[in-house]
Amino acid sequence: MKFLLSLYLEPSALPGEGLDHEEFLAAAGPSGELVGGHVLADPSVGAVTRVRGGAVTVTEGPYLTSADQVACQYVVDCESRERAVELAVLLAAGQAGGVEVRPLMNASGMEM
């Protein structure tokens, strides 16, 4: 099962600052669970696009204006939700924010 682990930090935190993912990477890498990941640049340099009734608007900055922002994300492929949560705990260790664990949709399906 694939999961997206998103580390949320306060907007005041500088991008990539003080991230210590050694323990997480040491757990998810050699076990063959780490599919990919990235550290995000500051939300202030991003943009949000919207289309309403055919009219396009582009606004500077984050989609969410008040809450914590995503600072980095990893995709893992692991045995169960429990294991994904276990890896997320390693990712959250030592961080002021929290890690959201979201299963990814897949194209497989069983007829009922």
Partner: protein
């Protein structure tokens, strides 16, 4: 079948045999398995150009053994010194069987290899990956593609698995009698996981994933050849054949899932049904009953009915009741509830479903509301059914299942 497909089949057939020869002489799954992969690669590039050698198996053994010796000599690691000594004592000529020599140990080698790859020190995902590479002869890239992860993810998964096998002190041999049943269960579970991974894959771009069903069936046939009297091995093979028989009818032209009751039975594979049904009937009359035989027997009843309405639900209900007793789990209860609903009315099925309400294994699981919705629909409780179809659609992580569940909910609208 094209020449390259025939070559691929031959190489995959020979892979575990060659690995078996190397393991018996040297031990050391990591080194031997790498050497065999190199020999397979050499064969895949040389044979089409130079023609098939007189004895392909001996050719592979000789090349793999040379690679092993090279590898051992070129590495200084302490743990490999013993292997170096062993390799020097055994010259290449000693490794290669005489031309035409068919080792009687091949079948047992494949069996011992399956036990080694499905060692309890490994996670199921690692057992699956290692089995496909070492017994199935697939490359790491092929295994990675089949499981939709990058090769960079799959490679450490496989090497970690090999390291674990080594540090667990696992030997290349058949398990002792007292461990036999548990170890065989693990092998069967891995083969079934491989099968399901392929069976549930979509069509089109996921075609290489669908090949996993063929690979699982091929490996289970090998296992059945080694252990013809084991009822559960026969049961699993039958279950795979009877399930795979429905594959041509399980999705519509637009890729949407078609439920069993609505499938075009004319598109089911009659030869697979016949073979699967014969296998499970023979197994159940000769061997102690087990969960795979029961599931195969249920699958046989489903596919042997000429029309959905002819399904022998009473017989299916009895088989699920036995299955619930010998191998209880929430998924069995779900299916049992459907069979109860079909024989004793939807209310009785819904009563049985209620026993799952507090089960932590079913919290967040989409199948519980999906089955509940189906039974509520049968009971004519359309509003409740619609809500539960929508709840199930929200919870599933499968795109085609979500689409199917939403379509069911919409059908009950107005």
């Amino acid at each position: 079948m094209s020449a390259s497909e025939r070559l691929g089949d031959l190489l995959r057939e020979l892979a575990p045999q060659v690995l078996g020869v190397l393991l018996r002489r040297h031990g050391g799954l990591e080194e031997c398995e790498d050497a065999v992969q190199e020999a397979l690669l050499a064969a895949a590039t040389q044979w089409p150009a130079e023609g098939l050698p007189d004895n392909p198996r001996s050719w592979l053994v000789t090349v793999a053994a040379r690679r092993l010796v090279d590898q051992v000599r070129s590495e200084q690691a302490r743990r490999r010194r013993e292997a170096t000594a062993a390799a020097r004592e055994a010259p290449d000529a000693g490794l290669a069987p005489a031309p035409g020599d068919e080792s009687p140990g091949d079948r047992d080698d494949t069996l011992a290899l399956l036990f080694l790859c499905c060692h309890p020190a490994l996670t199921p995902a690692s057992q699956v990956a290692l089995t496909l590479r070492a017994v199935g002869g697939l490359t790491t890239a092929e295994v990675a593609r089949a499981f939709l992860v990058p090769e960079a993810t799959m490679a450490p998964r496989i090497s970690r698995a090999k390291q674990r096998v080594r540090s667990a002190g696992a030997a290349f041999e058949l398990p002792a009698a007292e461990q036999w049943a548990g170890r065989l269960d693990a092998v069967l579970h891995v083969l079934y996981l491989i099968f399901n991974e392929g069976y549930t894959a979509g069509s089109g771009p996921d075609l290489h994933r669908a090949d996993l069903t063929a690979e699982a069936i091929r490996l289970t046939r090998l296992l059945h050849r080694s252990l013809p009297d084991d009822g559960e091995v026969a049961g699993l093979l039958a279950l795979m054949l009877l399930t795979d028989a429905r594959r041509p009818a399980r999705t519509g032209q637009d890729g949407a899932l078609v439920p069993l009751a609505e499938q075009d039975r004319g598109r089911w594979d009659a030869a697979l049904i016949e073979e699967g049904a014969a296998l499970v009937t023979a197994a159940m009359s000769a061997a102690p009953l087990g969960p795979y035989q029961l599931q195969a027997a249920i699958a046989a009843l489903h596919v042997q009915a000429p029309r959905a309405g002819d399904t022998d639900w009473e017989q299916i209900r009895i088989l699920y009741a036995i299955l619930s007793r010998i191998a209880p789990n929430p998924m069995v209860t779900l299916n049992h509830a459907v069979a109860v609903a079909m024989t004793r009315g939807p209310e009785a099925g819904l009563d049985l479903l209620r026993t799952l309400d507090g089960d932590p294994r079913m919290a967040r699981h989409h199948r519980l509301p999906a089955v509940r919705a189906h039974l509520q629909e049968l009971a004519g409780e359309h509003a409740a059914a619609r809500e539960n179809y929508r709840l199930a659609a929200r919870r599933t992580t499968s795109l085609p299942e979500r689409r199917h569940l939403l379509a069911r909910a919409d059908r009950l609208e107005g």
